[in-house]
Symmetry: C2
Subunit: 491 residues, 2 copies
C-alpha cells in the first residue's frame, strides 16, 4: 500500500524502532540522578547529542532537543528575537515558510507589536537573496528561511541569503525540517531547526541549534534541562531513536536521492502527458529529491484524495477544498499557481519503482472520474467548453453584474452580448473555475466573462486558469456578495 | 535491583510498552490527513483522550495532551493568567509546589510584572485552606496547588482549597503529577495537570485539563492541534501508551496502595529505631501510599546516595549536598525540617516486600559508614559530643565573633568561657552541623555556640538540629564572611 506522504511524516525507520526499544529498556530514568538507572541516561543523551550535532554540522553544545520541530521553531524564533531586542523587533520571513514559523511571527506581532516583513517568492516558490537584502531593515532582529519548501519541494538559496544576512549583521534561522535527512544545510546560518518524524525518527523530538556567538535569550519558563532552552523531562528513548535514525538515513541519502530523483522526474514528465490541464509546480531542478506537486484544473482536491486513497495511494494536498480553513495553501498562493486539484507526492526512502509506475497508471482515470462527477467530461477537459449542462440556467446571465463600483450600468445591448456573468456564489472550489470554463466559449473573442464567487480559492485559481489558457485576467472588484472576477477572451 | 525512585520517573508499565509497540505500527501518520494511515490516527487519539479524561474526571473536550507535565503546567498557568488579565495579575502558589510551577510563577513575574503570593505550609508540608483564604486578593487571577507533594508525599487539602477559591471566584490549577496514577483529584478544581512518566507511561506526554467555563487564553504561538492549547505534531504512540497505562495502573491502584502503604509504614516506623538521629518528614497519615522521606543528621547526602547505589538501592534526595544548586530543597526549607542526609524512597507498583526489608537491613550500616567518614563515630551519634578530633584546633575558639552588629565586644573573661565560636566557613553541608555537635558539650548549660558558615543548608539545618536536640536556636546575624548562627545550650 503505497504511502506517498513522507513530507507530512515519514514511516518509522527500522533503526529508529530498534533504538527506541533499546532505549526504553535503558534510558527511562531521570538523567539528573546519580544512581545506575540515572547514570545510563546522560550517557545516552550525550551520545545522541553528538550524533545529531554531527549530522547538523554544529557543536554538541550548540544543539538542544525539543519536544517537536514546532517547539524548536517557536523557541528559536522567540529566543533570537529577544536576544536582539535592543536592535529592534522586526522579523523577516519568506512568504512560503512552514506554518510553525508563520505562527511564531504572528505571535511576535501580537505579543510585542513587532513588525514582520514577508519576502516574496517567484512562480517556482523560490526566494532571492536580493529579496532578503531588500527586506532587511536597521531594526530587523531576525530573518527566517526554510532550507526547502514542504509543499512544492523547491530548495531555497540558503547560503546566499545567509551571506546577505551576515553582511547586514542579522542572524538567520533556517527551518531544515524537510531537508535535514538528506544533507546538512550549507552556509553561515545562525540558528537551525528540524523535526525527527520528518526523517523517519519518532514523533516527539525536534532539534534547535544556536551557533556560539548568536545572541539568544530563551523565553518563557525554563529549567535546568537542555541548557535552559527546552524545559521538561527529556524524552530520552525518542531522542536516542531520533539521533540513530538520522545517522541511518544519511547513510542511505546519497544513493536514495539519485534513485528517488529519477522517479520524481518520471512523475514530473509523465503527469502532464497523461492528464490534461495539469500544472506541475515548484522548481524543476533545485528541489528535494523525493517530492513533486501538481494541480489539476476542474478537480475537487478532497474527492481526488479520496479516490487516490481508494486506489491505495496516500498523498497530501494544499487545495482549500481538502482543508478546514477554506483558504488555499499560503505556499501556492504566494507562488500564484493553480491550487485546485492539488496533489503532493513525497516518496519515503525505499519506495519501489513499481509503485510510482502504478500511480502513473491509476492517476489519469482517477482525475477524469472526478472531473466527470463535476460535469467536466474527460473529452472536454482541455477545451474551453464543457459539454454537460450541470450549470443551472439561472446561474448564467447576460445581465450586468448587479452592482459594484465598476458595474456595467448604461451599456448598450451590443455590449451586453459580449459580457457574460456567472453566479458561483456559495459554490466551493473547483466549481467557480468549472463554471467559467463551461460558458467561456459563449462569448466572442474580445468579450468578457465575470465570475461572481465568494470562495477564497477563486482569487488564486481564476487568474491561474487564465495563465494556463492564455486568456486575459482583467482583475477583480467587490460585488454585492463576494467578488467579481473578470476574464477577457483573447483567443 | 531495587529502584525506589518512582516519584522521579516510574519504570515503563508493561501495558505502556505494549500500547507503544502497537501504536508505533498504526499511529505514526498525521492525524490531520484523510488517507488510511492518517484516518487511524485520530481514532487512536480520540480513544486515548476519552480514556485519559475518564481517569481525570473531566470531559474529553476539556483535556489536551502536551509534550510533558512541565509543558502542561507552563501552558496552564500562562493561559489561565492571561484569561483573567482584566481581574489582575496576582498568582497564589504554595511554598512547596513542583519547580515547574515555581518557574512558571517566576516567568510571570519577570515578563508581566505580575505578583506572586506564596502560601506557607506547616511542618508536615501541608497548606491550609485558611492559608489560601488569606493569600487570595481582589487582583488574584489564579491559584495553584499540588495534589500531593513530590518530595515528602504529603497530600494537600485540595477539595477545601478549591472551595475557598470557588467562593472567592478564583480558578484553581491542581498539579496532580504525583497522585493521578492513584486516583482522581477530588473537589472543584478548574485546571489540572499531570505527567505520564510519573505513573509508568512513556516520557513525552503531559495532560492539561481546563474545565468548561474557565477563562483561558493560550499564550505563545498556537496551531490547529489540541484545541490550540498545545502546538506541534502530536506524539501519538506515546499518547496512546500514556492513556492505556493510566487505565492499567488505576486498575491496580486500590490493592497496591494498601500494600505499599503498609511497606511505607514499616519504613516510617523502623528507620528511627534502626538509625539514630533521623527525622522522618511529611504527613504520617495524609500522604501518598508509596512515598516516604527522612533526613539523617551528620550525613552527606551525596555520599549516602552513592553508598545506597553501591548497595543496589536507587533513591533520591532533596539535600543540597547532592544537587548542583548548593541550596537545600525548597520543600524541606518551607517545612523547616532537617535537609542533610535526606533520602526519598518512592516505591514503584509491585515493589516486593523483601526489597523493603533488605533496605531496612542495609540502611543503618550505610548511614553509620558515612558518619564515620565525617568523624562522627556511630556510638557518638545521638550524643552532643563527638569523640574524634577531626576538627582543626584553630577552627574552635573562645574569641568573640570577629565582627557583626551584635558582636560580643566588651565582654568579660567569665562571659567568654560560656561562648564558643566554630568557624565552618567554606565547609559544605553536613560539616557545619557536625562541627556544632562536636563542641556543644564544651559549653556549660546557659552558654552559647556560634557557628560561622556560608553554606546555605546551615540556615535550615542548624535550627533543625536545635529542634531535634531540644536546644535553643537564638537566630542568625551577618558576619564578616558568611553568617553567624547562635545556639544556646539549655540542657
Amino acid at each position: 500500500m503505497p504511502y506517498f506522504d513522507a513530507a507530512s511524516s515519514a514511516p518509522l525507520h527500522p533503526v529508529a524502532r530498534q533504538a527506541l526499544q533499546a532505549a526504553l529498556a535503558d534510558g527511562w530514568a531521570d538523567p539528573a540522578r546519580v544512581y545506575r538507572e540515572g547514570r545510563a541516561a546522560p550517557v545516552l543523551l550525550d551520545s545522541a547529542r553528538e550524533a545529531a550535532a554531527d549530522a547538523v554540522g554544529c557543536r554538541p553544545d550548540e544543539l538542544v532537543f525539543t519536544p517537536s520541530g514546532t517547539h524548536a521553531v517557536h523557541a528559536g524564533v522567540a529566543g533570537a528575537l529577544a536576544g536582539r531586542r535592543r536592535v529592534g523587533s522586526r522579523l523577516a520571513v519568506s512568504a512560503v515558510e512552514h506554518s510553525s514559523v508563520l505562527h511564531a511571527a504572528a505571535a511576535h506581532e501580537a505579543a510585542t507589536g513587532g513588525a514582520v516583513t514577508e519576502v516574496p517568492v517567484d512562480r517556482f516558490g523560490r526566494v532571492s537573496s536580493d529579496g532578503y537584502d531588500e527586506a532587511l531593515r536597521p531594526d530587523t532582529a531576525l530573518a527566517c528561511l526554510q532550507s526547502a519548501n514542504h509543499e512544492v519541494g523547491t530548495e531555497q538559496p540558503v547560503a546566499l541569503v545567509a551571506e546577505v544576512c551576515r553582511s547586514r549583521g542579522v542572524p538567520l534561522l533556517v527551518d531544515a525540517a524537510q531537508s535535514l535527512g538528506w544533507r546538512p544545510v550549507e552556509g553561515a546560518w545562525s540558528l537551525l531547526t528540524a523535526s525527527a518524524h520528518k526523517w523517519g525518527g519518532p514523533a516527539g523530538v525536534g532539534l534547535l541549534a544556536v551557533r556560539k556567538g548568536v545572541r539568544f535569550a530563551p523565553q518563557g519558563p525554563a529549567d535546568e534541562r537542555e541548557s535552559g532552552r527546552a524545559p521538561g523531562f527529556q524524552n530520552l528513548p525518542a531522542v536516542v531513536a531520533a539521533a540513530a535514525s538520522l545517522r541511518a538515513v544519511r547513510a542511505e541519502a546519497a544513493a536514495e536521492s539519485v534513485r528517488l530523483r529519477a522517479l520524481v522526474d518520471r512523475i514530473r514528465a509523465r503527469v502532464p502527458e497523461l492528464v490534461p490541464d495539469v500544472e506541475v509546480v515548484g522548481d524543476p531542478e533545485r528541489r528535494l529529491p523525493h517530492l513533486v506537486t501538481f494541480s489539476c484544473l476542474y478537480v475537487d482536491g478532497e474527492a481526488l484524495l479520496h479516490e487516490l486513497d481508494r486506489a491505495d495511494f496516500s498523498v497530501s494536498s494544499g487545495s482549500s477544498c481538502t482543508s478546514s480553513t477554506l483558504t488555499p495553501s499560503h505556499v501556492l498562493r504566494a507562488m500564484g499557481v493553480l491550487s485546485e486539484g492539488n496533489v503532493r507526492v513525497s516518496l519515503p526512502l525505499g519506495t519501489p519503482e513499481a509503485e510510482v509506475d502504478r500511480f502513473l497508471e491509476v492517476l489519469p482515470g482517477v482525475v477524469s472520474g472526478v472531473r466527470e462527477r463535476f460535469g467536466v467530461p474527460v473529452a472536454a477537459a482541455g477545451r474551453e467548453r464543457a459539454a454537460s449542462g450541470s450549470v443551472p440556467a439561472e446561474a448564467v446571465s447576460t445581465e450586468p453584474v448587479p452592482s459594484g463600483p465598476d458595474g456595467g450600468e448604461g451599456e448598450g445591448e451590443g455590449e451586453r452580448r459580449g459580457k457574460l456573468v456567472v453566479d458561483a456564489l456559495g459554490r466551493r472550489c473547483p466549481i467557480p473555475v468549472i463554471e467559467l470554463a463551461k460558458v467561456f466559449g459563449d462569448v466572442p473573442v474580445g468579450g468578457t466573462v465575470t465570475v461572481l464567487a465568494d470562495d477564497e480559492a477563486a482569487r488564486l485559481d481564476i487568474p491561474a486558469w487564465c495563465e494556463m489558457r492564455g486568456q486575459e485576467y482583467m482583475g477583480e472588484r467587490p460585488a454585492d456578495h463576494g467578488v467579481a472576477y473578470v476574464v477577457r477572451r483573447v483567443s
